[in-house]
């Protein structure tokens, strides 16, 4: 998990520090980082997905000495990075269809194996729509065959590229353009949802992890760890979307942090189907503090708000905290509201 930098000034939370020794530097603090997704891309201001993709791929490039092929599902990440004939990618990159990224990645990995180039590693990546809905069949197949691919899902909790439609990863009560904030049950419905990290674990693959763009050291460590395994691996990264969430562009990282610190988004690692490490909550916040800055939950607040639904969402967080044991004696409760 997090690199334990003994740094009393900034702990191990900041991207770097002028006084940190060379080998403890995060990839993102190195001026010579790959910048796998470089400037000039057309992602919105404050895009969490652009950030998450650069974090993850730069770490993978560093872990493999630059030997990475990336396969991309359709989605924001593909659309904003490659308007013909320009590309923002600074690594070999393929795009085929919305639903088949994992199948294409399987093929790329097989081709590399056939050529004896197994030092070249394959990453498949997509948004939550391309992963938990449209591409789920091929992904499950890739898991089941244990193909040597790291699949990274950048989860922004809806189909943002096409105009914010609900996906299987949209949280309960969230307003999207297909789940309006009207009626007795406004926004997305309270269902079990599709918890893909847990589904991936159920396949018994070597490595499954969750992360957010708010903890760079944790994310980089997980990507690097994933590259030490052969076989199917799955990394699920929460990437806030200012457009779809109705949040301020500068709050992207702060919201990701609060998603984890409220317990709504548990951050953990699992190997061969078993949870091995859980990232403990450092400053526990209430879910209302996380939900309030997001306009997609605005209908839960105010005079005609729905405190009952807020309570139900807090219940989800509380169950996560209990299930994954997200708190310990070092957890501080932060009163805000």
């Amino acid at each position: 998990m997090s690199t334990p930098l003994k740094f009393y000034q900034v702990g191990s939370f900041a991207v770097g520090n002028r006084l940190v020794d060379e080998e403890s530097l995060s990839e993102q603090s190195r001026p010579g980082r790959t910048n796998s997704l470089t400037s000039g891309h057309r992602a919105c201001q404050g895009c969490g997905e652009a950030l998450g993709a650069r974090y993850a791929l730069d770490a993978a490039m560093a872990a493999t000495d630059g030997k990475i092929v990336a396969v991309n599902a359709t989605g924001c990440l593909e659309v904003f990075s490659t308007p013909y004939p320009e590309t923002s990618w600074r690594l070999p990159w393929l795009h085929s269809l919305f639903g088949n990224a994992s199948a294409v990645a399987t093929g790329v990995a097989a081709a590399l194996r056939a050529q004896g180039k197994e030092d070249i590693r394959v990453i498949a990546q997509g948004g939550d729509g391309g992963t938990v809905d449209i591409g789920f069949g091929p992904l499950s197949g890739m898991f089941e065959r244990n193909d040597d691919v790291l699949y990274i899902c950048y989860d922004n909790e809806a189909y943002m590229n096409t105009g914010v439609q609900r996906s299987g990863a949209t949280p309960p009560a969230a307003r999207t353009n297909t789940t309006h904030a009207v009626g007795a049950n406004p926004g997305a419905s309270f269902t079990q949802g599709k918890n893909l990290p847990v589904i991936a674990m159920a396949h018994g693959i070597p490595y499954v992890a969750t992360a957010t763009v708010a903890d760079l050291h944790d994310l980089e460590a997980k990507v690097k760890k994933a590259m030490t395994f052969r076989g199917a691996r799955y990394l699920h990264i929460l990437v806030p979307c200012p457009l779809g969430w109705g949040s301020r562009s500068e709050e992207t990282i702060q919201l990701a942090r609060m998603a984890a610190e409220s317990g709504l988004f548990p951050v953990f690692e699992a190997e061969y189907g078993e949870v091995t490490v859980v990232k403990k909550i450092r400053r526990l916040v209430k879910v209302v503090d996380y939900l309030k800055p997001q306009k997609r939950f605005a209908h839960l607040f105010g005079a005609n708000g729905r405190p009952d639904l807020l309570e139900a969402i807090q219940g989800i967080a509380d169950r996560n905290i209990a299930k994954y044991q997200l708190t310990d004696e070092n957890t501080q409760e932060v009163a805000r509201g």
Binding site: Q9, V10, R18, S29, T38, G40, T87, R248, I253
Partner: protein
């Protein structure tokens, strides 16, 4: 056209797409005024010298520090550190131990023999400073660094003023005082001891271009207390002065000190060290109203000093003091109750405040004196042109740190005045307030507590009470600095930009690449120390 099937355009990079045109706000790196710097009466750039200390560059840290205060080893011991009271870190866990790092740097400088580097050419101007206390020494140092010829006249046998004759050796070892004064003398400052100036006006006739009065407040205030002929009554300033001179007065075994300031506690603690087994401080109000610093009170109580709150001394006889109990009235003033009590006492020390010896300006009608202190303008100049004054002799808080600030301020004002100009203060940047910090990035770490000598051992001699940091703990403490409002090179902005629009420069600083910055504001929001502002774009 030798492109593959269905390909008509050359491959290009998105770098051709200057997304900076989307922006309506731009991030700007700023330097704000950290609360420590803001609170320091000597105007130290605390964050600035801690920054060097964090990297272990102790000499550079010391050099940055002494720009404002030439006596860090002394102030690292006796300053009441208002910087730490203001420190933003107190809201995260505990204030940074600025004072202890200052002391470490001061001690290190003495150990390593670091000297001031004089770069200014001689100006030919001669300046006289009357008094060698903190304000006099501070002014002498600043003026000498500007190339002026500086002479200090000191009425006592040794330089240092209240630092030598008011502050007991257990708080400020004399070798530290001597070492820091010697460094100023090495700069070419002449100190003439046993040289009391009788008239400030007469010194101008000797050819001095400007004179700085730094005479302090050395006269103990007297109060009328009915006393028997054989009663032994002394004043605290004299007791401390005589002790410092190596000729301590005879106080006896039981001593009563009357007063509630730091001097009262110093006198009581000194009495204990001189052999009194009982030292009682009588103060007419309550602990909350006591002007003495809390740390001093705590250390005094640790040493067995007894406090008698809400009491006044009403009569002194041989071996006995009569005190009257007081009660606070509705407006919080102590009123007599008519209830008396006798205390055994071989001597009584009055610590009722100090007054300025104004004989030096006698007959100078252009100088205004109000409430016993010398009136000065915003440039610390008195009504007599060319005569400046500072320290305890002018209105203001009577602390050594404040005096050092006065000395610096007066030196700048004198330097400008000698050139026929008025000194202009640099504009103060906006305060780096706590609400601008992103405290998530700071981990929690308790302050290094300075080990203390055992209270019992301490009370029996004049050994130094508070021990210092070593090289390892000093760097630890320096690194606890949040660097409020000033970039400290954490790479956060460089890392969190979704558009790679932050450039990391060779010198450890950063620059925004405005060709690609979309103005999302994540860098400003995630900056731990609040050193980035978002400014609206003007088309």
């Amino acid at each position: 056209m030798d492109k593959p099937f269905a390909i008509t355009l050359n491959i290009g990079s998105s770098l051709a797409n200057h997304t900076g045109s989307w922006r309506n706000e731009r991030p700007v790196y700023v330097n704000r005024l950290p609360p420590c710097n803001d609170a320091c009466p000597a105007g130290e750039d605390v964050q600035g010298w801690l920054y060097e200390g964090e990297a272990g560059n102790y000499e550079q840290a010391w050099r940055n520090l002494v720009r404002d205060n030439p006596l860090p080893a002394i102030m690292g011991r006796i300053c009441y550190h208002p910087c730490q009271t203001a420190c933003n870190r107190a809201e995260v866990d505990e204030a940074v131990g600025i004072n202890s790092v200052e002391r470490f740097l001061g001690d290190e400088a003495i150990k390593q023999g670091w000297q001031f580097k004089l770069t200014a050419a001689p100006t030919g101007k001669r300046i006289l400073i009357i008094g060698s206390g903190p304000s006099g020494l501070s002014a002498a140092y600043q003026l000498a660094m500007k190339g002026h010829d500086v002479t200090i006249r000191e009425s006592a046998a040794a330089p240092g003023g209240m630092m030598r004759y008011g502050i007991p050796a257990y708080r400020l070892p004399r070798e530290v005082l001597d070492a820091e004064i010697a460094r100023i003398v090495n700069l070419g400052v002449k100190i003439e001891c046993n040289s009391k100036v009788e008239s400030a006006e007469a010194t101008f006739a000797e050819g001095f271009d400007a004179v700085f009065l730094a005479i302090g407040a050395h006269l103990g205030k007297r109060a009328f207390i009915p006393a028997g002929d054989t009663a032994r009554i002394l004043d605290a300033v004299s007791v401390l002065h005589m002790t410092a001179d190596g000729q301590p007065p005879l106080l006896g075994r039981r001593v009563v000190v009357y007063g509630g300031g730091n001097t009262a506690l110093d006198a009581a603690r000194t009495a204990r060290r001189l052999g009194a087994y009982e030292a009682i401080v009588v103060y007419r109000r309550t602990q909350e109203k006591m002007p003495a610093h809390e740390v001093e009170l705590r250390e005094a109580l640790d040493e067995g000093i007894v406090m008698r709150w809400l009491s006044t001394v009403s009569r002194v006889d041989e071996g006995k003091v009569t005190i009257e109990k007081m009660a606070l009235d509705d407006s919080g003033f102590p009123q007599p109750t008519g209830e008396f009590e006798d205390l055994d006492a071989d001597s009584v020390i009055l610590a009722l405040g100090q007054e300025v010896d104004l004989s030096v300006i006698e007959g100078m009608s252009e100088i205004k004196v109000e409430d016993g202190v010398i009136d000065v303008d915003g440039f610390l100049m008195t009504g007599r042109k060319g005569l400046f004054a500072g320290g305890d002799a002018v209105p203001g808080e009577r602390t050594a740190t404040n005096a050092i600030g006065h000395g610096k301020h007066a030196a700048r004002a004198i330097d400008s005045w000698l050139q026929g100009e008025n000194f202009v203060h640099a504009e103060r940047p906006a305060l780096a307030a706590f609400d601008r910090l992103n405290t998530w990035y700071y981990s929690d770490a308790p302050k290094t507590v300075r080990p203390k000598l055992d209270a019992a051992r301490r009370a029996s001699n004049f050994a130094e009470v508070v021990q210092g940091l070593d090289a390892e703990t000093a760097v630890f403490e320096a690194r606890r600095c949040l660097s409020c409002g000033n970039c400290f090179g954490c790479d956060n902005c460089f890392g969190v930009c979704p558009d790679n629009a932050v450039i990391k420069l060779e010198n450890g600083k950063y620059e925004i690449n405005l060709d690609y910055c979309k103005g999302c504001g994540i860098c400003a929001n995630e900056c731990p120390c609040g050193a980035i502002d978002m400014e609206v774009e003007r088309s």
